[in-house]
């Protein structure tokens, strides 16, 4: 690959994204074989370093690495250790001294991975940095859309919810707009960051307007703590104004695809009926996440390490 690390979708060229998605297509069948084991990453050490709790992303990376034959080590830490523990630079130096090949990091602060990169030769994969990016989530979302719709070009993708705090939204906006999709955001004015139109998206404060002729509707997890910060009055009102329900689906295209990065708050971002409906790709997103991460690990360790 042209790139050494995956720090953000913003850094990727179109051909990088397509190469990852195409490779993921080849990886997906491996998950369906009986053996579920290859040797592409045999002898490689992958460390997961999560400063924020995560189940699905971490497990997804671990499975992807296992299917490719890598050896995996976890470093468990907490957000509070960022404040009082070893500095990130010293952690990087320690990992460097141990000679690991891949570091998958989730960190509560934007661009922490760039700091890590200055002190570490290993491949770095961003599993989420602050409110900035969650590039592997966007890649698996794009993979899922492409698998279902054949292409991303010309599709209307609605992203609904807390855009302000969402690294999933930001990564998807970079990727989807780059690959020619039309992105419409829907959310309360308090949860739409300033000047986001400059990223080439449309902004709506009415989910039904946003959803007109949508090919894809993606809900984002809304966090109750935002209510305490005065960003919206209640989950009830949020659901009333921005919840994805049958009425929203009526204005969208008939074959609209429903997505959510999970975990979902049933009845808040979208109704249970929709989450469990035929239109929903939410479970497949999880499956595809492993395939996309396999593709990344394969591509970055094969050509990325000098």
């Amino acid at each position: 690959m042209r790139i050494k690390n995956l720090l953000g979708i913003r850094d990727l060229e179109n051909e990088d994204i397509l190469q990852i998605l195409d490779t993921a297509v080849l990886m997906k069948p491996i998950m369906e074989t009986k053996n579920k084991r290859t040797n592409y990453l045999l002898g490689k050490i992958m460390v997961t370093l999560f400063y924020e709790p995560s189940t699905r992303t971490r497990v997804s990376f671990e499975l992807a690495a296992k299917y490719l034959g890598a050896t995996i080590t976890n470093i468990s830490t907490s957000a509070s250790s960022v404040m009082k523990g070893e500095t990130l630079i010293d952690t990087a130096r320690t990992l460097q001294a141990m000679g690991v090949d891949v570091v998958v990091m989730r960190h509560p602060m934007t661009a922490a991975h760039r700091l890590l990169d200055q002190y570490l030769d290993a491949v770095i994969i961003n599993a989420g940095d602050g409110i900035n990016e969650h590039p592997t989530q966007a890649l698996l979302d794009m993979f899922t859309i492409r698998e279902k719709k054949g292409t991303l070009k010309g599709l209307k993708v609605v992203i609904a919810g807390d855009i302000l705090h969402s690294r999933v939204a930001r990564s998807n906006i970079w990727g989807l707009t780059r690959l020619g999709a039309r992105v419409a955001l829907a959310g309360p004015a308090t949860l739409i960051p300033k000047g986001i139109e400059r990223m080439g998206v449309e902004v709506y404060h009415d989910i039904k307007q946003a959803a007109v002729d949508a090919d894809v509707i993606m809900g984002l997890r809304i966090q109750l703590e935002r209510q305490k910060n005065g960003l919206f009055p209640s989950l009830r009102e949020y659901n009333m104004l921005f919840g994805i329900d049958d009425k929203v689906l009526e204005v969208a295209k008939e074959d609209v695809l429903i997505m959510h990065p999970g975990p979902t708050n049933r009845g808040v971002e979208m109704s249970s009926e929709i989450i469990d409906s035929e239109s929903s790709a939410i479970e497949e997103q999880v499956t595809n996440g492993v395939a996309v991460r396999m593709a990344l690990l394969y591509l970055l360790t094969r050509e990325g390490v000098s």
Binding site: A111, E133, P193, M199
Partner: protein, 422 residues
């Protein structure tokens, strides 16, 4: 008595409006003679042809970090940096440990500066005890001990009532209140200017209104109390416009701008270098233009660096964890020459006013002018010199600057403090 003869330089004295090639003879700590074709034996001769001769520059907003944070800067290193940057006087902010909020602390700064300082130091004392925003510092006594102004810089007085009382009280001595305008509720968790850039970079923003609501408050309180109020490091378009209107109304308000706020926009944050992290943050292009216009028409009275030196441990961390601040003393002149003088935004006279005479008047110092019998505080600048900023060569302990490696115009050739070349 030591004598210095500065020959052939272009004397810029905003106090008298003189902009002409003159020779200057310095005897002891005073300027003995100004004229043409001066010749004397037994002098240190400075050939100043092609140079600008400014009254010694005055930086009314620096952080010298001593006492309490000597690992970041000391009075010795900070004033050495000031001298290298062309400043003959600096006013240091009280956010030290302990806070400069007592006569003993003011005295300490003066004594330490006298013993170890390379330029003159004027302590700014805290408005409230310990900068806690709860009780007034002994402002009257502090004035007697020589506090140059009062500020809770970095910890803005959030109680409007206490600020009102501080202004009323300070106005008994016509003391200057310097306000770091920031509503901490609005700026909370922010690390850079809120706008398109923060959205693109995925960072939490400090909105311009965090500054503007407080500027509006200070103007209202100044109008009401009659106190002289100075807006520190003004950075937004609406703030500049409010100050412009307030001045037109006759309110006793003044403002300063930092060099980074007229030379960089928030686009510099792209790349996530913590060197660009500063409070108030680097703003949008529109804001930068407004600050420049404010400097041009005098709405912004002074240029002050907000020199905020930090140890590398405070900067070589995640952007959100990094300390706010730029080490600014040694780049102020090149930035002003490059962004204000050369493009013709300011004439040399206007630049000398913003960097010397205006702060002298605001702080009521006997400085900021060049005249026979006056103090021999002089800064000699070569406006044609091209330089490349090298933070490793900074005399300040703080190497934290977003200008490292940048090519700029303008070099400080000599700084003369009370007749001594420093």
């Amino acid at each position: 008595m030591e004598r210095i003869l500065i020959k052939g330089g272009r004397l810029i004295d905003p106090a008298s409006g003189i902009d002409a090639v003159k020779d200057i003879l310095v005897e002891g700590s005073k300027i003995a003679k100004i004229g043409s074709g001066l010749n004397t034996d037994d002098v240190t001769l400075i050939n100043a042809e092609g140079m600008l001769i400014f009254p010694g520059l005055i930086d009314m907003h620096v952080h010298l970090r001593e006492p309490g944070f000597e690992y970041k800067e000391t009075i010795e290193s900070g004033t050495k940096s000031a001298a290298a940057g062309g400043f003959t006087t600096v006013a240091c902010m009280p956010n030290t440990y302990p806070v400069i909020d007592s006569p003993a602390m003011v005295e300490y700064i003066y004594l330490k500066a006298e013993k170890e300082g390379h330029v003159k130091v004027k302590p700014v004392a805290a408005i409230t005890k310990g900068q806690q925003g709860e009780e007034l510092s002994p402002i009257g006594e502090l004035v007697q001990y020589g506090a140059a102004a009062f500020s809770d810089d970095g910890h803005p007085v959030s109680s409007s009532n206490l600020m009102r009382r501080a202004m009323e009280y300070a106005s008994m001595w016509d003391a200057l209140i310097i306000s770091h305008c920031e509503d901490p509720e609005l700026s909370r968790d922010g690390v850079m200017n809120e706008g398109e850039m923060s959205t693109m970079l995925g960072m939490r923003g400090i909105p311009s209104v965090a500054e503007e609501t407080m500027v509006a408050r200070e103007i209202a309180l100044s109008r009401y109390t009659g106190c002289r109020v100075h807006i520190a490091h003004i950075s937004t378009k609406a703030s500049v416009e409010m100050v412009r209107r307030a001045k037109a109304e006759g309110i006793r308000i003044s403002a300063e701008a930092a060099p980074h706020h007229f030379s960089l926009t928030d686009a510099a944050v792209d790349g996530y270098s913590s060197m660009t992290k500063v409070n108030p943050p680097l703003r949008s292009g529109e804001d930068v233009e407004a600050v420049i216009r404010g400097l041009k028409d005098g709405t912004v009275d002074a240029i002050a660096t907000d020199h905020a030196p930090h140890h590398r441990d405070d900067k070589e961390v995640e952007y959100s964890m990094a300390a706010f601040g730029i080490s600014g003393l040694e780049t102020a002149v090149p930035l002003a020459v490059t962004h204000l003088l050369r493009p013709g935004v300011l004439t040399p006279l206007q630049l000398a006013e913003r960097m010397s005479l205006a702060p002298a008047k605001l702080l009521k110092l006997d400085a900021g002018y060049i005249a026979e019998g006056g103090p021999a505080d002089i800064t000699i600048i070569d406006p044609e010199a091209e330089i490349t900023v090298d933070t490793e060569k900074f005399l300040s302990k703080g190497k934290n600057s977003p200008f490292d490696g940048m090519r700029l115009w303008g070099r400080v050739v000599h700084t003369i403090v009370e007749g001594r070349m420093v």
